[in-house]
Symmetry: C2
Amino acid sequence: MSSGIGLGLLGVGNVGSAVARHVHARAAMLERQLGRPITVQRALVRDPNKPRDASIPADRLTTDAAAVIDDPNVDVIVEVLGGVEPAQQYLRRALEAGKHVVTANKEVMAAHGVDLLQLAADRGLDLYFEASVGGGIPLIGPFRQDLAANEIEEVHAILNGTTNYILSQMAEHGRSYTDALAEAQQLGYAEPDPTNDVEGHDTAFKLAILATLAFRGRVAPAEVFREGISQLTKADFTYAAELGYSIKLLAIAKRRGDTIEARVHPALVQRDFLLGQVEGVYNAVRISGDLVGRAMFMGRGAGPEPTSSAIVSDLIDLGHNMRRAAHNRIPVLLDRPVRVLPMDEVISRYYLRLWVKDRPGVLARIAAICGEHAISIASVLQKEVDPDARRAELVLLTHDAREADWRPAIQRIMDLDVVPEVASVIRIEDLLE
Amino acid sequence: MSSGIGLGLLGVGNVGSAVARHVHARAAMLERQLGRPITVQRALVRDPNKPRDASIPADRLTTDAAAVIDDPNVDVIVEVLGGVEPAQQYLRRALEAGKHVVTANKEVMAAHGVDLLQLAADRGLDLYFEASVGGGIPLIGPFRQDLAANEIEEVHAILNGTTNYILSQMAEHGRSYTDALAEAQQLGYAEPDPTNDVEGHDTAFKLAILATLAFRGRVAPAEVFREGISQLTKADFTYAAELGYSIKLLAIAKRRGDTIEARVHPALVQRDFLLGQVEGVYNAVRISGDLVGRAMFMGRGAGPEPTSSAIVSDLIDLGHNMRRAAHNRIPVLLDRPVRVLPMDEVISRYYLRLWVKDRPGVLARIAAICGEHAISIASVLQKEVDPDARRAELVLLTHDAREADWRPAIQRIMDLDVVPEVASVIRIEDLLE
């Protein structure tokens, strides 16, 4: 133990550098608040010769994780590597070596968070992870502390800035998915391989973390139903807007009797609710608690500065614990077996866009199929007519339908000879006041 | 000290009853989380014979505050009396008697919070006050913990549900102020004497608390500039909407060099920002931090359920501290002398609605006065013309102007013989992306 608070940084990319820089720049303020200085003692890098910010002296850089974790001057491991391995192994070893942990790693926390929290608790150590969900937006803190009295009934969230930027561009500027993605890549908002974001994996990790906290029982990322945004087309944004909706990649977790729903997919959301108006790289989380009612948290969900806001704030809180020698203050209370409802049982409304042959009786046949599967149609809009091809574009909105009923119905509609193309199927998520 | 956590309740009105009821109903969950039960041991009431909820046994009710504070089974005083006195005296005595405190009292925390926090710190006790601002919305927690790494640059907030309900009714349904107030009173959202809400006192108390935390220096409620909503008229909401603005009672705190601005007044806010769309009894707080950037928190700002969400969550956090015997974990760090900028020095844009005589040269005379006071006009709309009275309605929007320049200018405009009436003067607060 050093007389100050010694940090061991695992990862000195954009986020790690920002943490080092801000801890350095705020040294006086931090020492005043915590009664002792915070300094980066060791930092794990891939290439120690790469030029970087001078806030970490060169002789503290190493390519050996063990040299960071086992450094006797390191009290706290700050992990910003991302990815499950080797990060998970490092965090486990850090806790076993008696080091506190602050992590921004959503993959590790989603897949192994419960076990790591238990390990930290067993050793009387702190494990902070505010930065793992929603960047700098206070979420883990509120879920574990400020809203602790509540039974959380619902979470509706936009948790991925990359996809929200793409969807905003498609909605506001009529861009195609491909063009909007290319632009996001150019601006550095999307990775060269965007799969993790656009297919909803990133969002599912974050939802697993929030749902685990909200429902006080382990929700594994693999249990979260997941659908990405790459199938969305310009036309859907136009029609959604006409109908008073936005299209968002939503993370949804709901209590349904003694089960929960946990799903990530594009959804039509009412435009006159604030969640439907969160644009660009912003994230937002809307919760319903039995006492607090509806509440919403919004802010920048990614980037070195917002993420280091969460990490440095976690470090300050950990510093308060050090002063009082009181760690692991909030116990891991995951005392409820949580069963995730199979997607077949989920009930939702649907938006359906399809091209039909321009002849009488087509709508009747579609409606008959829906009826046979216990699905009622809420509204029908006939949109474009293509006289040359003798086909017309229909937009249908259904009332609530079970997924298990919907799937065979849509298959039968697709198989109709009078339906050359089912262009889009998107769930509708009607928020309540 | 009892073996559980004994509560002494000061006040058993709507909020106090809700706290007692929820603590009672959640007994098993609370005991599982905290390792010991929470029970109401004593409760101060005005009339012990008034029929009330059965969650507090009749023999625990008393009309004597000392009997609550000095009860050896009481570990925590929960104060929901409201008003500065006698609440402040009770809280002081409670801390001196070694009791922790959870309060919902904004008046006390705004006027005496810093001293009470210091007293709690000196005695190694906890003083929680999440419920004092924004009802159940996590604000004090995020300001003290989750955002602690940030230098807060700006706070823009809607902190009073009563006035926001009135303003929403005026905007959406074209109601007059008087009608909207009467409706709010009928629904129980406004008091029979609404002064505290509509004149902005309530909002100023809450802003003083938030500004003190945000800028880490004491901001007294008397230092907060304050203007109420009773002068607003239907016509202003119509014109504001036309111009793309909402009208909100805003609480504004900004860092300006080595001073701060702290003010509460009606303001035009851009309608395409989420803050401009917070309607009804909802509250919202938008902050700018140097690391996190813009973030916003929204939810129900008042009412027994949201308020008890904050109080019971505070009790849970206090219970965690008890387990670890680690109180007063986050020190009161108000180490910066904060000087509030005199209102004369504040710079703002203005919306001005006035009736002028319908004759040539009127606008030139108004523009000339503005020019002489270093105020430039951003836009002029000629609205209604009343041909019988031979007068026309003008709406002017200015560019940034110093309050000290604006006041004599508007006085000179009012004195013009060609200006029979200056109908409205409202500040414009342009939010930044």
